[in-house]
């Protein structure tokens, strides 16, 4: 934590941490505590009068079936995104770990979607699946489907899941590949001498040894799906049609910033904050228990 050898006491260290701490207080800690405080208030429609109502916003929130719909929707969305992008990344990483020729080239072509902004990713997928013009929608229609994500909620959900998973494959691929390359070759060789073929080696040696990476990625993917997909949803569906793609983060934004229900939105923020805290704690516990190959 601290170096054994360090500089003596002076004003300097305070000056050094000052910018970071100032920003942390002004833009993080203060607003977060404001959110906590506002979640206990009710404000009238004109913002003229505020009333302290204790946990009324929370009890309203937890009595609201629509809110729980959003919670389930978010859970479904996140697990689908995590499953889709992790399984395809695992497959690709497994293959890339096998090939020697061109591994670097493959990697280059697989990692770039990471750099695409969620909104732009949304735009690309929206364009391909646009019900009137989209090239993929054209093929779907040709096959007899009447694809239209603007009116069909399930189709809208599928589209944002695909777009979100697509963007996240790169990240998962890199970590899976790094995890696989960290497994000592001698282990794989020992298994081969024991007579295990490539598929068996993957499921009995490589995959179990990857479990810390898999767990870590699972947490990261959930965080990603919860928070970083806002842009995709905002660009593609705006939470619609009929709230079919409204996830928690979108609802906080929509209720608070558009609907101006400050107290309710703040209570939702606090719930989200709790989720982040739990995920962060899990993530840090993972690091402590990280398996050494």
């Amino acid at each position: 934590m601290l170096k054994r050898v360090h500089f003596g006491p002076s004003l300097l260290p305070f000056l050094l941490v000052a910018p970071q701490i100032a920003i942390t207080i002004v833009f993080f800690i203060w607003p977060a505590s404001q959110a906590l405080y506002q979640s206990l208030l009710v404000e009238d429609a004109f913002g003229l009068k505020t009333e302290f109502v204790w946990f009324q916003n929370y009890s309203e929130l937890f009595d609201d079936e629509l809110y729980f719909d959003t919670v389930y929707r978010t859970a479904f969305f996140s697990s689908m995104v995590a499953f889709l992008s992790m399984s395809s990344a695992l497959l690709l990483a497994g293959m890339a770990d096998r090939v020697i020729k061109g591994a670097k080239v493959y990697r280059t072509f697989l990692i770039w979607p990471y750099a695409v902004a969620p909104v732009v990713a949304g735009a690309l997928w929206m364009f391909m699946f646009d019900p009137t013009l989209g090239i993929v929608a054209y093929f779907l229609h040709a096959m007899g489907s009447n694809w239209n994500f603007r009116v069909n909620g399930d189709e809208a959900m599928a589209l944002v899941i695909f777009a979100a998973a697509w963007k996240q494959i790169s990240y998962n691929f890199l970590f899976f590949l790094a995890g696989m390359q960290a497994i000592p070759k001698s282990l794989i060789e020992a298994a081969a001498i024991d007579g295990a073929g490539p598929g068996r080696r993957f499921w009995t040696i490589i995959f179990p040894l990857l479990s810390p990476t898999t767990f870590f990625l699972l947490v990261m993917n959930i965080v990603y799906a919860f928070f970083d997909t806002f842009g995709i949803i905002h660009a593609v569906t705006k939470g619609g049609p009929a709230k079919a793609t409204e996830i928690l983060v979108y609802k906080v934004y929509n209720d608070g910033f558009i609907g101006l229900d400050l107290g309710g939105s703040a209570a939702q923020s606090v719930v989200l904050m709790t989720i982040v805290i739990v995920l962060t704690v899990i993530q840090f516990r993972y690091i402590e228990n990280k398996v050494k190959y």
Binding site: P13, T24, I111, A115, L124, I169, G231, S265, I287
Partner: protein
């Protein structure tokens, strides 16, 4: 590989190539759309091969703007994005370097408290404090300017932790040797720590540049003035306009321009990118 099984290797290559094709398909479609004219882009089915209007569309987007954001050219939005991304990346690196230096190399009162305050920022993404943060920024008069776009985002626990990790691996004897050579704290920081952390700084810069460039919710909250629009926001407003008058050739050209800089950074600084990604997650 362990044993020679040409068939398995062949299958691996096929799967990888298929994966690449599927992953790259959206961008191919984008590129194709950006190379046709407005007329062709209203005829179903849309083309799958590039047309001849790429440069025409490029010039049009860069100088004239698209849809709702017509009054704002894509060129200007790119410039806004670039400025914001650079300010965020440089700002985060600068303040994280300084605070990691203080926390690792100085013993001072409240050191641990500061450390935990920085740690807490990990648990408070913009998404969970949208409105109060907006209020703070509004009160400080930072709406619609570059400061408001960047400063609230430059506190960074991950970057601070990464530099802390890097500094902890630098042998103590180097500090001692520097002290015998007469270097004070800031001189040591500038002459020894900074040069020794330069690959980490570069790796982090790559990650943070992408992070900054791709910011969306934050600029959406605090910019109302179209002259402050970033390219990512611009795309969003073009999509809204597309529902009435689809100008997909220009929207896709703009999307291409929006994704090109960060993608180029990833592709051409691949090893730094991988290093940055894996190290900030430790």
């Amino acid at each position: 590989m362990i044993e020679n099984r040409p068939f398995v290797t062949f299958v691996s290559h096929v799967v990888l190539i298929l994966g690449i094709v599927i992953i790259a398909f959206p961008i191919w479609v984008t590129f194709v759309a950006a190379s046709h004219d407005a007329v062709r882009m209203t005829q179903v089915p849309l083309p799958l091969l590039p047309g001849g209007h790429f440069f025409e569309n490029l010039v049009s987007a860069l100088t004239k703007g698209v849809g709702n954001a017509r009054e704002q050219s894509v060129g200007l939005m790119l410039m806004n994005s670039l400025i914001m991304a650079l300010m965020i990346a440089v700002g985060k690196i600068a303040i994280s370097l300084l605070s990691a230096f203080a926390i690792v190399y100085f013993r001072f009162p409240f050191r641990m408290m500061f450390f935990w305050m920085i740690f807490i920022t990990l648990m408070l993404p913009v998404e969970v404090r949208i409105i109060p943060t907006f209020q703070v920024v509004a009160n400080l008069g930072m709406l619609n300017n570059y400061w408001g776009l960047s400063i609230p985002l430059i506190a960074s626990a991950t970057a601070t932790f990464m530099f802390r990790q890097v500094f902890l691996t630098i042998p103590d004897e180097l500090l001692e040797a520097a002290r015998i050579d007469g270097a004070g704290p800031m001189r040591f920081f500038k002459d020894i720590l900074l040069p020794m952390s330069r690959t980490n700084i570069a790796a982090l810069f790559v990650i943070l540049f992408i992070y900054g460039w791709n910011q969306y919710l934050w600029p959406l909250l605090i910019t109302t003035d179209k002259s402050m629009y970033t390219i990512v926001m611009g795309i969003k407003s073009m999509l809204e306009a597309a529902e009435e008058s689809p100008e997909w050739h220009l929207i896709m050209m703009s999307s291409l321009l929006a994704l090109l800089p960060p993608v180029m950074v990833v592709v051409f600084m691949q090893s730094l990118f991988v290093k940055g990604l894996t190290e900030t997650e430790k």
